[in-house]
């Protein structure tokens, strides 16, 4: 069965990936100067006894392989340890932050497609026309604006100058969430929407040249049938792929925006954790990120499986 073997293959790959990721990050963090002491001792003078106690508690004097093995042993039992900084279980720390980032990512993705797909199609239809050129140029510019610059721009424009939106935080109720996350989502989506516009435009143009589209029209099929059954369905896959990758990117890489909008999301957490040598948190985050990427890719492949018979019947390898 195609699906099973696919899933199996992917899971195997995932294990390798996560293994590699964890070793690399752990190694980097251990190798880099300074340890969790700074965080644990604070910026106050400390006594030798305290320092000794800490080194013992966090196995700071063990050799790297031993420490890693220690961590791995717990990790495989689902115990990702306790945050050095906040002293709560890492899983809680992440669970605490996830909703913000997830909301942001989802919202951004929504905007990205709500804008990207139609605009891309419009551009493709009016190919070479003024509108098309405008859109193409516009998307290029959006691609070129650094996300954090975009954040600052929006922040000043809509939150400070116009005061339409809150400046920071993620809000508590659903409605608050929406208002709080709108600007960050836009900042995040801007470049991605531009990407999707380009993608969609290309896909549509490519389709327009396809014989089977002409043949469909030649048989006098109704417009809806041609557009939905033929054009969209065939354009869906590439766009779908982009969407998945964007989602993964947003979940793991929204840190600029989170930083600028003072959102306590995973990105912000990562930055803090890295600078605090909060190894358990960083490890968990990186693994989480890896897992997300793997999962998304798997979902995309499954989607292909569903939509494209050639893949389903193993005529084309994934």
């Amino acid at each position: 069965m195609a699906v099973l073997s696919l899933v199996a293959r992917r899971l195997a790959a995932a294990l390798v990936l996560l293994g590699a990721l964890s070793v690399i990050t752990y190694g980097l963090l251990v190798a880099s100067p300074g340890g969790p002491e700074q965080v644990l001792l604070g910026t106050r003078p400390s006594t030798p006894e305290t320092r000794a106690a800490i080194r013992a508690e966090y196995h700071l004097d063990d050799p790297f392989p031993l420490r890693y093995a220690h961590w791995l042993g717990d990790a495989v039992h689902g115990d990702f340890g306790v945050s050095i900084y906040s002293r709560e279980p890492v899983t809680d720390v992440i669970a605490d932050r996830l909703p913000v980032t997830a909301g942001l990512a989802g919202y951004a993705l929504l905007i990205t497609f709500a804008v990207g797909v139609p605009v891309g199609l419009v551009a493709a239809m009016g190919r070479g026309g003024l509108l098309d050129q405008g859109i193409t140029l516009g998307s290029l510019v959006l691609l070129a604006v650094p996300p954090f610059a975009m954040s600052i721009l929006l922040l000043y424009g809509f939150a400070v100058a116009l005061g339409w939106f809150p400046v920071f935080g993620a809000g508590d109720t659903f409605m608050e969430r929406v208002t709080h996350l709108t600007l960050p989502a836009v900042a995040l989506a801007a470049a991605q929407a531009a990407m999707v516009v380009r993608q969609m435009r290309a896909a549509a143009l490519d389709l327009a040249g396809q014989d089977f589209l002409t043949f469909a029209r030649a048989r006098g099929l109704p417009r809806t049938r041609v557009w939905i059954g033929y054009a969209l369905r065939n354009a869906a896959l590439p766009v779908l792929t982009v969407g998945g990758l964007l989602l993964a990117a947003n979940l793991t890489g929204a840190l600029f925006v989170e930083q600028a909008f003072g959102l306590h999301g995973l990105g912000a957490l990562l930055i803090a954790a890295v600078s605090q040598k909060d190894i358990p948190v960083v490890q968990a985050l990186v693994l989480f990120g890896g897992a997300i990427v793997v999962a998304v890719n798997l979902l995309i492949d499954l989607a292909y499986l569903v939509v494209d018979p050639r893949v389903r019947h193993g005529a084309v390898a994934l």
């Binding site: 300074g34 002491e37 305290t50």
Partner: protein
């Protein structure tokens, strides 16, 4: 160019639906009677237990929730708190009498046992308390009867009370014993006898305090305090500006100009118990030479630096002690200390006397993006004028901190430390004791000797005039040998939106939530 129009269109398209419900972003604070304060700190509090959260953000909350045995009055002298009174039977022991009928917010009564344990736990390595070094002189803590606590020291320590005023925060023994490592974490939280109790503590969505209605002391005017962490200074400022935040202490005197400009916001500054200086590693090459050190002291334009870094809300530092400690110690009759005016000629002259008449080049590590970065840039510019070339070596804050605390590659360091007590003994050992010259210590100049250590010990026990003279002597020596170049004292500041006032802000009483009150109340 079509771009702007397109972008505008896109954004507008997205905003329209939500713009409606975006209504007034003001939350909290916007209630009918404004006894809810939305407070923002520039860093997230990481623990409600000083043993693991000895930093501004955390301590601010701790002092609102937990009571200390003693406290400091406006002049910085110890005053009763949970201890109604105390005696000093021998120079090296204290006996505190506990306030009657005080209960923790969980209803359980406060006992002498709780109080005693709350101190002794800081000595337990298993707790790995960040406050441990404050209590190194504590030998024994015991509950005497139901309402008295006796503390025995290894040797007399005049600073003990002042230190206790910050770090001896009283928690229930049961709770503390059960959680040596993670008391005060979001999971465990904490219980105190203070004016407020914790309604919610999360590193992500912030902290909420509610008035402790059964508080033994004067009730705070605020019913509820919501505490947010906004790490980005600019975002924080805009949050206050837009009214989403009512008050914050997260403003750097340096940015005063930007804050004072905000409408509907009053910013007030008061002397901070901090000292910014350059540490000159006396063990390192050219810096071995006292003339070089003096030359540097002369060459740095402290006045310009002070205005740059404190935006007019600070003072030039003449000695290495924080201003409040100086005033607490000397009052108005400040003695004259060796001072090095900004004088390039004098600087060149000093340098000429040294082994490096034409100057030298030296690497200077610093934390990128920090105040240090700015200061060192300015200093480098100054020193270049007398031929001392500093090559800037940036590294991320944490990495810099790590190398610094390992005392690796010390040269010219910018250091700015805040302290908690009016006691010079809290500061001086950090600067000139040989113990502090070891890794994890704060003596970055490496200046020190057995003789000095002895004098420091003596100072620890000294009182009155004797104490004053000893400090003066030490400061004078530091002034002559210049292991440190004092730079400036920076004021602390808080910003309040209209509708709130703060009276009696003092460096010795960082309990903001007790002093901030709705306007008119």
């Amino acid at each position: 160019m079509k771009t702007p129009t397109i972008r505008a269109a896109v954004v507008a398209l997205l905003l329209l639906p939500v713009a409606a419900c975006a209504g007034s972003p003001q939350k909290g604070g916007s209630g009918p009677e404004r006894d809810t304060l939305v407070w923002a700190s520039s860093a997230a509090p990481n623990s409600l237990d000083i043993a693991h959260g000895f930093n501004n953000a955390s301590t601010t909350i701790q002092l609102a929730v937990l009571d200390t045995m003693v406290t400091l009055d406006a002049k910085g002298t110890p005053a009763p708190a949970l201890a109604t009174s105390w005696t000093q039977p021998t120079p090296d022991s204290y006996e505190f009498t506990l306030r009657k009928a005080v209960t923790f917010t969980d209803g359980s009564p406060l006992t002498a046992d709780d109080a005693a344990y709350s101190l002794s736990r800081h000595l337990d390595p298993a707790v790995a308390s960040q406050a441990a070094s404050y209590f190194t002189t504590v030998k024994k803590v015991e509950a005497v009867g139901t309402d008295r606590v006796r503390v025995t020291l290894t040797r007399p320590n005049t600073a003990f009370l002042s230190v206790a005023a910050i770090a001896w925060q009283v928690v229930p023994r049961k709770l503390a014993e059960a959680h040596p490592g993670d008391l005060g974490s979001p999971e465990v939280g904490t219980i105190g006898t203070g004016p407020f109790k914790v309604a919610k503590f999360s590193l992500t969505s912030g902290t909420v305090l509610e008035r402790n209605e059964s508080y033994w002391g004067p009730k705070p005017a605020l019913r509820r305090v919501e505490i947010k962490a906004i790490s980005d200074a600019e975002t924080l400022r805009m949050a206050v500006r837009s009214g989403e935040v009512d008050a914050t202490d997260g403003l750097n005197a340096r940015d005063a100009r930007k804050w004072t400009g905000l409408s509907g916001v009053t910013t007030s500054f008061y002397p901070g118990n901090n000292i910014a200086y350059l540490a000159l590693a006396v063990g390192n090459g050219p810096l071995k030479d006292v003339h070089v050190r003096r030359a540097i002291a002369h060459a740095v334009d402290r006045e310009a630096l002070t205005t740059l870094m404190t935006g007019g809300h600070g003072t030039i530092a003449r000695t290495v002690l924080p201003m409040p400690q100086m005033t607490a110690l000397y009052g108005d009759n400040m003695p004259k200390f060796p001072d090095y005016s900004f004088d390039l000629a004098a600087a060149k002259a000093e340098l000429a006397k040294s082994a490096y008449p034409d100057g030298f080049t030296m690497a200077v590590p610093y934390a990128s993006g920090s105040d240090g970065a700015t200061v060192m840039q300015a200093v480098a510019a100054d020193l270049a004028k007398i031929g001392i070339r500093l090559t800037m070596e940036p590294s991320p804050g944490d990495k810099y901190m790590a190398t610094l605390m390992d005392h690796r590659g010390l040269g010219v360091q910018y250091v700015n430390l805040s302290y908690g007590t009016p006691e010079p003994v809290e500061v001086l050992p950090d600067m000139i004791s040989r113990a502090a010259a070891e890794p994890q210590g704060f003596n970055f100049s490496g200046y020190g000797s057995a003789e000095l250590d002895a004098r420091l010990d003596a100072l620890a026990g000294a009182t009155g005039q004797e104490r004053q003279d000893q400090v003066t002597a030490l400061l004078t020596e530091i002034g002559e040998q210049v292991p440190y170049v004092p730079l400036f004292h920076m004021d602390n500041g808080i910003a309040l939106r209209d509708g709130f006032t703060a009276t009696g802000l003092s460096v010795w009483n960082p309990n903001f939530f007790a002093v901030i009150r709705p306007a008119g109340k």
